[in-house]
């Protein structure tokens, strides 16, 4: 990483003065570090750099850039060069590029690619058939496969040939498939190395293959690979036809992407694909304004609720001083519960069918936590000198509000998941808004009970 900072200025200098030296300078630097450097350049500088590099080196950098940058660079370097670079990209990264481009740009680029590298163009069409977050879109279509009639030794030779082929990303598994591409089994390179070379491959292979369909969501794919510690996961269609493999490095990228989405959703932002500083000001506004307005409109009901207790508040103004404290405490306990349940659902520790166990547990948590806070609360009420009735009111309300917060905060993600949406969408602020309104209703109803005498006296005195 230090490297990236070091070569940044030097690179800019070379670009300006001796552009023909670029390729040799970059030979020794990891493509990831180069991509970091390119990210710091402006679009014109980056385009100048890509033009100077051999297409395969340019592809190594280009496929690591965020989508927004890729789109800008396509404009700058033109379809012809982009197509040549795309031809050298990994199949899955290439498919991502086409999915990210505006449709007309993508179509024109595909036309150019068909002339430059027809095989790559075909792969793009194959992969982009599937939704962008599905296994089909994520897979690589180049792998080492052998017929079931070969021996272990012959399979090892196939691996050697695969190792020499730059288009094959993963050579640590050999896939045994029929001539009709029906997947029969898998052998790891490790098993091949210790197998008797003359043994039939069908005796060495594992037949009980764990695979996914191309429609499987990428999050489910990542979970399976993480669970079974696999380096690659085969993708087969409903008929058992072998379509491609998903490699572990893609899984890691998916996990990072999904986590970013979850954190954004939890914060009440529509997920943003590009890095923070690569996202334009107005895109950011668009991703935020929607939810923020929905939450705002939800919060307007707190005003409606408070107006409903107009008489009570006018009689005892002190009541209103506790409102923010009470409702935000409900919100806080709710976000604790929801973050526990949302994460539990994400990693598969909690299932929607567990709802009653969760309900029972969270309501219990709420009562205990409510009791703890109500002791602190009562102390503070006495210190403010609002008297024992208010102390009782705040104490009781806290127990109800915290228990309510925990219940709503834990149930809402389960309900949202059950309805088929991402539970992280029941973002913390959304739950908090709901609890705010409920909290006000709880508070003033408890107040009417406990302060009945005080309120009656206040009403008797004309303003």
């Amino acid at each position: 990483m230090r490297l990236a900072h070091l070569i940044g200025p030097e690179l800019r200098d070379l670009l300006r003065n001796e552009p023909e030296e670029i390729a040799s300078l970059l030979d020794e630097v990891h493509p990831e570090d180069l991509a970091d450097v390119v990210l710091d350049l402006d679009d014109d500088e980056a385009a100048a750099l890509l033009k100077r590099l051999p297409a395969d080196d340019a592809a190594d950098i280009f496929e690591r850039l965020p989508e927004g940058r890729q789109e800008n660079l396509v404009e700058k370097i033109g379809f012809q060069l982009t197509a040549r670079i795309a031809g050298e990209m990994a199949a899955d990264d290439r498919a991502d590029l086409f999915s990210a481009l505006p449709e007309d740009v993508g179509d024109q680029l595909l036309e150019t690619l068909e002339k430059v590298d027809p095989e790559a163009a075909e792969e793009v069409e194959e992969l982009t058939r599937w939704p962008e977050t599905s296994a089909g879109h994520l897979m690589n279509t180049q792998y080492v496969s052998v017929l079931p009639s070969v021996t272990a030794g012959e399979a090892l030779d196939a691996v050697r040939r695969g190792a020499a082929d730059d288009d094959i990303e993963m050579i640590y598994y050999v896939y045994v498939a029929t001539a009709e591409e029906k997947l029969l089994g898998i052998v790891s390179l490790r098993q091949l190395l210790i197998a008797n070379p003359s043994a039939p491959i069908t005796e060495v292979m594992i037949e009980n293959v764990i695979s996914v369909t191309p429609e499987t969501d990428q999050e489910a794919v990542a979970k399976m690979m993480a669970k079974y510690d696999m380096q690659a996961l085969p993708v087969t269609d409903a008929n058992g036809t072998f379509l491609g493999i998903i490699t572990v490095d893609d899984t890691i990228d998916v996990m990072t992407e999904e986590q970013t989405e979850d954190v954004h959703r939890l914060g009440g932002v529509q997920p943003i694909d590009d890095p923070y500083f690569e996202t334009t000001f107005w895109t950011l506004i668009k991703k935020r304004a929607g939810w923020l307005s929905v939450l705002f409109i939800g919060e307007l009901f707190t005003g409606t609720a408070l107006r409903h207790y107009d008489d009570v508040i006018k009689s005892v103004a002190t009541l209103s001083y506790y409102v923010p404290l009470l409702i935000s405490t409900g919100g806080n306990s709710g976000s604790q519960s929801s973050s526990l349940i949302i994460r539990g659902l994400a990693v598969g520790e909690v299932k929607t069918s567990d709802w009653w166990r969760v309900l029972y547990r969270e309501a219990g948590q709420g009562v205990v936590l409510g009791l703890v806070l109500s002791m602190v609360g009562i102390l503070r009420v006495m210190m403010w000198g609002d008297g024992p009735r208010f102390a009782a009111l705040i104490g009781v309300t806290l127990i109800f509000i915290v228990a309510g917060g925990c219940t709503i905060g834990s149930m809402l993600p389960l309900i949202i998941k059950r309805l088929g949406f991402d539970p992280a969408t029941s973002s913390t602020p959304f739950i908090a808004s709901l609890i705010d309104v409920v909290g006000i209703l709880i508070y003033f109803n408890v107040a009417k009970l406990i302060l009945a005498q005080v309120l009656a006296q206040a009403a008797a005195v004309p303003h």
Copy 2:
């Protein structure tokens, strides 16, 4: 996963009636699925099962169980059997077990392990020297290494021998090291397969090795592996002595663990290691009560702030009806900003040195978003019939509060990171509490300005 549900009941039945059949039933099931099944058993049933299995099969299951379960099971199956199982566990999982056990239990188990498997006991002492979330604790000490004097063909033979050795988890890299364990270079098995067998290994290897020190935090390790798409990362000490390797599957576990921590922290819960249902009720209370109390005490200041404006509120009760709406809107915009910045910091897109760019941007976002909401807000004020002065008050306050929310929400994570803590600790509810108090101050000060005339009139009329 369907499998786990299927074999659960059958397994219970066998355990009770024909325990000697257990081992054969489980032969065909993936250890991960077995661990799922064991998780559903109670401690006694799980102990009975582990006692029935050969130690290496038991180890495959045991190392996948959450820490709390492991601790219970150690008690149930005794030190002798646990030590035998631990002897068969992967070095890093074994070290985790010892770190998770209470100190006296761990010490007794280590004594037993020294008798059963002295080499494993030594490895435990080697790995547990390092902090639990460090590279040293995560590494495997068994790998394929060769001297710099060998040829590529001899190195390939070393890989073959490694492939047959169950203690070596990763055979896809060969490490070239001196007799004194100084790491000189790395060769991937792929490169070995295509290299000329008679070529000296020093000509095939990559010398520019990316490595970490044993003290490196696991989060940084995971980020490096994700960035460079590596299957294994070597760990070397300050003198370049080769200590072990970290494999990609551990990285995936680390990522999941760190993500869980982040989501919990964002929800204002102290991170919980064990799965939700494996965590006891009172552990959960302990992890929640602390933060919830801190936030509660923080929110008490909203009461103090409101009391400060006692006169104003008593003059115009309507003012208090807007308090929850305004402060929670500030909180919502703040949590949007903080979730964007916290995630940006986590993936390295945002650095603390970018603070002024973030400040500039987020303040701008706040003003624009505030304008949007203030249009909705003004409309609602007019509909409630609170008049043009109130409309102006709410409109202006919203702009200030949302801009303030975005500013605080984005700066706080940067400040916390700068102070050396996890930015996710500036959890959403924490930021919201801070903004609540600031919001009240903004609101009533704007109110005093805009409603000066109204307030003066109200003061002139005695209650």
